[in-house]
């Protein structure tokens, strides 16, 4: 018996002594507020206090809990009233997805209990052991510095003022008190556990042996599922015509981490059976690693229908590139290579499924419930309406949860066994098996005239799309459209290829290939400016695409092209930081870091971006519904999954102002395929624009119905008091007795507004000409940094980020997106490199910690987009795209070093510095 004090109360529990404390808390004691991210002390999500010290519960044996006093996130608000620390997090938007939040809170609690007024350095040290992938940490630091002030929450905005208000997340409190339910927090107690056995080989064939001995050895093993147990199509994929990835491999595997069989049984059994006990006879083959190997003559073919291993090619062409470049006053050319990047959301994939009659009901992580429902249905071989998928809270997605992961596995198991089946990926499994950012080889040649105007761009990118198609086609389409960067250029040729290899499937990751292309175009912009003797910012400003200019696809921008304004806003910061850097470098001299001197060179770089919001030349509608019940409850039926970015809050703010009622009068049902309509994917930065517009239309529709029923004019003010709805119109008050009205549809609402929006686009022709997006986000970011010339290490000092978001529906959440995007951009630029088999954990694969994200100044430019709700566009991906170019530009500015292979790890920076010092100009 293990006895201890838990959140002030004595508990005793019978459990295996070596059980991890995380499992003891979550499974034995039912306290799921403590999260599990890695089970290796790398992420800190499981941080609790033991005897007044922060520790990772995942590394504490249950036996050692005996006699101790433990505090978990549930203990921070014992009386139900959240603490000053939690309130500060809420007020500052310090929690986004919320998966790291319990760990962050406990680390902060540890700090504040011994040091109520910590310095920033003390805060960073105390929280250095907790990783966050969403926030970029800055709002967490702000919140902790503001705890002592214990300010009240912001006053709720007046009716009509919700849009533009910095309100806390409407789902914010439950992310702070441990009650939010993520993928691993929802399964019933009697659920069986599933674990996939995955390929240790990147390319192999295999045969399965007799399973009876395994069953005999492990009575707790209920069933081993193989490819032949898939009732429908043993294939899935993002595109309707490409279902190339097997749920369970059928005799051959194409990447390390591919699922081969699924073990289902009690937890202890599933956790005990090692992969090498499962009778799989492997015949390993030489894998195709990298695009060059896959496109070499005679290379083995991954998919029979693609004999050259090329999944797709993309092309945008306009004008005579050769002629214009030949005539250009200056030209620049370059090549860069980028790496696989892992999403590294702190929440591994998790969920459960059960069979209810002839239906499967699933609760799991997803970024697109309806598409995943349909996908699960075709794997089961049933109609989509026989699958219900309810999205749990998603502990970070960033594109990585747009693909199916455990869903078909638990669906098949629950279908066959007629028992609930749950699954949670281990961190190495999550990293090995799920999609990545495409490694890219990008090259280009650009030219400008003597006045500093771009005359032509030529671009080609090869993208390693891994073993299966996933989102490969999107990268091929989106990249050529964006290859020119956010600049006006009349002549362009941009081509791309997505190439299959025996590497992890590359899928969607914040930017779909555009960040890789931006590394190149921003380098070329710097080189051209330097050759012309122009300031790098001013050269960009001259070429910034503006309203009235045509893009490389021939689309003339008609509204909301705010790059020039962003650059003008940055100009004083640019000049100041450049002057500071020059002065600092002048003082410290031009040393080369020889003889161990700590020679620090400071540099300032700039990156610009544009990003089409929504799918590329494809219909991507969102459908929303908002209703009023007989009891006066206003419900938004919202199919848009909030993966931490805040769409639930944003959409509620839009609904409130369109309906003109207080924002806190609205409740929501989110992401349930039985209850909400298809809002499309939480991807492509589209939910504010597309779902936001659909919500606005739905709310206006509802408002119009109310006004019509009450014969009120367009300015009527709606007030709902329980079952009585009143409309004040001038001096007249009109009343609707809601209980007397007939309920409509399955929701039981008596009044319903409907909205659907699909952003207007046109198909691209064979030269990529057309209108791929209804609108674009624009941004420019400045990075100020120092390089240790002798070691090649980079210390970031500051970012200044100017973003044209059309309209900031909630400026606090927009800032949070920019902070988080910059943090991921820092990772992309400086440290993140996924190598199968070598960096399948969060200590060999590095993402930025709280000490790696410097102060960020944000300038919001609001150049209204008439297509969007209240003028808004999108921010999710735009936040990340310019960051790496700004960092790499600043490294060049500081040292002359051109890092050709990204990430710019210290050894690559050092190598590039040596090359630059050797007199070889890049």
């Amino acid at each position: 018996m293990i006895a201890f004090t838990l959140n002030g109360k004595a508990v005793s529990v019978e459990a295996p002594p070596e059980r991890r404390l995380t499992d003891l808390l979550r499974l034995d004691l039912g306290l799921t507020g403590t999260k599990v991210g890695c089970e290796a002390g790398d992420c800190g999500a499981c941080t609790v206090l033991i005897d007044e010290r922060q520790v990772c519960a995942c590394m504490v044996p249950a036996a050692q809990a005996d006699g101790s006093a433990i505090v978990t996130v549930e203990g921070l608000a014992p009386a139900g009233e959240i603490s000053a620390l939690q309130r500060a997090f809420h007020r500052h938007g310090a929690a986004q997805c919320g998966i790291c939040t319990p760990g962050m809170l406990m680390a902060a609690e540890d700090l504040l209990r011994r040091n109520p007024a910590p310095s920033e350095a003390e805060t960073l040290d105390a929280l250095g052991g907790v990783l966050c992938r969403c926030t970029g940490y800055r709002k967490i630091v702000e919140a902790i510095s503001d705890v002592a002030a214990n300010r009240p929450d912001a006053v709720a905005p007046a009716v009509g003022d919700a849009v533009g208000a910095r309100i806390g997340r409407v789902d914010g409190i439950r992310k702070l008190d441990g009650t939010e339910r993520f993928g691993d927090d929802v399964a019933p107690e009697d659920a069986l556990w599933l674990r996939a056995v995955r390929s240790p080989h990147a390319r192999a064939t295999f045969t399965l042996g007799e399973l009876a001995p395994l069953h005999a050895k492990y009575p707790g093993l209920v069933r081993v599922f193989t490819a032949k147990d898939v009732p429908g199509n043993n294939g899935f994929g993002i595109y309707p015509t490409v279902k190339d990835q097997p749920v369970l491999a059928d005799g051959q595997v194409r990447y390390r981490g591919e699922a081969v069989v699924a073990l289902v049984g009690d937890r202890a059994t599933i956790e005990t059976i090692r992969d090498d006990e499962v009778p799989i006879q492997w015949q390993a083959q030489t894998p195709l690693i990298g695009c060059a190997a896959a496109t070499a003559p005679g290379a083995p073919v991954l998919h029979a229908n693609l004999p050259d291993n090329i999944l797709i090619k993309g092309r945008v062409a306009r004008g005579d590139v050769e002629r214009e470049l030949a005539a250009a006053h200056v030209t620049a050319e370059a090549e860069f290579e980028t790496s696989f990047v892992e999403h590294a959301y702190i929440e591994p994939e998790a969920g459960f499924a059960r069979r209810v009659g002839d239906r499967i009901e699933m609760m799991a992580v997803t970024q697109q419930p309806v598409a995943h429902r349909d996908e699960i249905a075709q794997v089961l071989g049933v109609a989509p309406d026989r699958v219900r998928l309810t999205a749990t809270a998603v502990g970070g997605g960033f594109g990585g949860k747009l693909d199916l992961s455990l869903h078909p596995l638990i669906a098949i198991a629950a279908w066959h066994l007629d028992r609930p089946v749950r699954c949670v990926y281990r961190r190495p499994e999550s990293m090995a098996s799920t999609t990545k950012r495409h490694p890219a080889h990008v090259k280009g040649r650009w030219g400008a005239d003597k006045d500093g105007r771009l005359v032509a761009i030529d671009f080609h990118g090869d993208f390693n799309t891994g073993a299966y198609a996933s989102w490969g086609p999107t990268v091929a389409n989106r990249v050529p459209v964006h290859a020119s960067g956010p600049y006006a250029v009349k002549t362009a040729r941009a081509t791309s290829r997505a190439i299959h290899t025996n590497e992890p499937p590359a899928g969607a990751f914040r930017g779909f290939g555009v960040p890789q292309a931006a590394v190149l175009h921003e380098y070329l912009m710097d080189r051209l400016a330097d050759q012309l003797g122009m300031d790098r910012l001013e050269f960009r400003l001259v070429n910034a695409i503006r309203v009235g200019d045509a893009t490389a696809t021939g689309q003339v921008l008609t509204h909301s092209a705010g790059l020039a304004k962003c650059l003008e806003e940055l100009r004083p910061h640019w000049k100041r930081l450049r002057a500071e850097a020059a002065e600092q470098n002048r003082r410290t001299g031009n040393g080369h870091g020889g003889n161990g001197h700590a020679v620090i060179r400071r540099g300032v770089g700039i990156g610009c971006m544009w990003y089409g919001i929504g799918n590329t030349s494809m219909s991507n509608p969102s459908t929303m519904r908002i209703g009023i019940s007989a009891e006066g409850k206003v419900t938004l039926y919202n199919g848009a999954v909030d993966i931490g970015q805040g769409s639930t809050t944003i959409l509620q703010q839009i609904a409130a102002d369109a309906l003109r009622i207080p924002v806190d009068r609205i409740q929501q049902i989110v992401g349930d395929t039985d209850l909400t309509a298809d809002a499309g994917k939480t991807s492509a930065s589209r939910q504010t624009l597309v779902s936001g517009k659909a919500v606005e239309i739905a709310a206006l529709d509802l408002r119009e119905k109310v006004l019509r029923l009450t014969n009120a004019g367009p300015e009527g003010r709606i007030a709902i008091d329980g079952p009585v709805l009143r409309v004040q119109d001038g001096d007249a008050t009109r009343t609707l007795e809601l209980r007397t009205m007939a309920a409509q549809g399955s929701d039981g609402d008596v009044l319903t507004g409907h909205g659907r929006f699909d952003p207007p686009t046109t198909p691209l022709d064979e030269n990529g000409q057309g209108v791929p997006y209804a609108t674009y986000g624009f941004a420019a970011q400045i990075c100020d940094l120092e390089v240790d010339v002798a070691l090649g290490t980079v210390k970031l000092r500051r970012f200044v980020a100017a973003h044209d978001v059309g309209r900031a529906i909630n400026p606090m959440l927009v800032e949070g997106q920019i902070h988080g995007g910059i943090a991921q951009g820092i990772g992309l630029a400086l440290m993140e490199e996924y190598i199968p088999g070598r960096t399948e954990n969060l200590h060999d694969y590095l993402i930025p910690t709280i000490g790696d994200v410097p102060p960020i100044d944000i300038i919001l430019v609001e150049d209204r987009e008439p297509v969007g709700p209240f003028g808004a566009k999108g921010i999710g991906e735009p936040a990340l795209v310019p960051t790496a170019p700004a960092i790499l530009g600043a490294i060049r500015d500081a040292t002359g070093a051109v890092v050709r292979k990204i990430p710019a790890l210290p050894h690559r920076v050092r190598e590039a510095i040596k090359l630059a010092q050797g007199g070889t100009q890049p």
Partner: protein, 282 residues
């Protein structure tokens, strides 16, 4: 399988002397911060000897000949201990052992027993001339740390032995320690290169003795004895850094891995050792 929580060293070494029936021997567990990360995913049950309750193994104490760090002493206890500047390097290294959560739980002795080539604790303890105290049913013995660490995750601990303490001799002269680490991010980072050192100084400001160790550049961290000899007797106010040459790095044998190339490691080791010597001399 068994899980034993002895409360005395005798009880613990008694258990170690008799291998558990049917198993592959006891796995010793203290803070758990290396144990659990090595056990992510399915695995067979093990016999675990949890020594966290063994009396007398916790804390840092001054002794007649120097200092004793009990085997269960955590890194946080090292950071918070009242220790002279000799230990500044060890304290800096302690702050680099994972996050605060790990420093609160992980033990100094565990870091040594895990014997990672990149263990943050090993170079500073080498520079402190650490001796490792091992107990078994047959008695106790002491080994120099450099003898105790035998390679990548290999130590001289016999399966019937328990590390009970780390002993650090008191230097004959005033001494100062320091530590420098190179990694690709700020927190929670495995070293690409690290260096720790102690310089003892004479009253007339000369190097009485120098002990310099480099980690993450060979299977086990190495002392740079040629450099130590070169530094001995030198005036502190001269440009000591200039004495450090590539020849002094001869004991190092770095590898290429995901964190950096072998060549880069040697390049940085030179820079970092020079900076370390600079700081130690100031």
């Amino acid at each position: 399988m068994g899980y034993l929580r002895p409360t005395s060293v005798d009880e613990a070494v008694g258990a170690l002397a008799a291998s558990p029936a049917g198993g592959s021997g006891w796995v010793v567990l203290a803070g758990g911060t290396d144990h659990y990360p090595a056990r992510v995913g399915p695995r067979a049950a093990e016999d675990i000897l949890d020594i966290s309750r063994v009396a007398g193994l916790r804390g840092v104490a001054e002794t007649d000949s120097g200092w004793r760090i009990g085997a269960l002493t955590t890194w946080t206890e090292v950071i918070e201990a009242d220790l002279p500047p000799l230990f500044d390097g060890l304290k800096l290294a302690a702050r680099e052992v994972g996050g605060v959560q790990i420093q609160n739980r992980g033990t100094v002795a565990g870091n040594l027993c895990n014997a990672s080539p990149a263990a943050d604790g090993i170079p500073p303890l080498l520079s402190l001339d650490a001796m490792i105290e091992l107990a078994s049913a047959k008695g106790t013995r002491r080994l120099k740390l450099a003898e105790f660490i035998q390679g990548n995750r290999r130590t001289a601990r016999r399966s019937d032995e328990l590390v009970t303490a780390i002993h650090l001799p008191r230097p004959a002269n005033a001494a100062k320690g320091d530590f420098l680490k190179l990694g690709a991010r700020k927190y929670l980072v495995i070293s690409i290169v690290m260096a720790a050192g102690v310089i003892e100084r004479t009253a007339d400001r000369k190097v009485a003795a120098a002990r310099i160790a480099v980690g993450a550049c060979s299977a086990a961290a190495q002392r740079l004895s040629a450099l130590e000899q070169a530094l001995a007797g030198q005036p502190l106010d001269t440009n000591l850094r200039a004495l450090v040459t590539e020849m002094h790095l001869a004991p190092l044998a770095p590898i290429d891995d995901v964190r950096g190339s072998a060549g880069y490691r040697l390049d940085c080791a030179l820079t970092i050792v020079r900076r370390l010597v600079d700081r130690l001399a100031s």
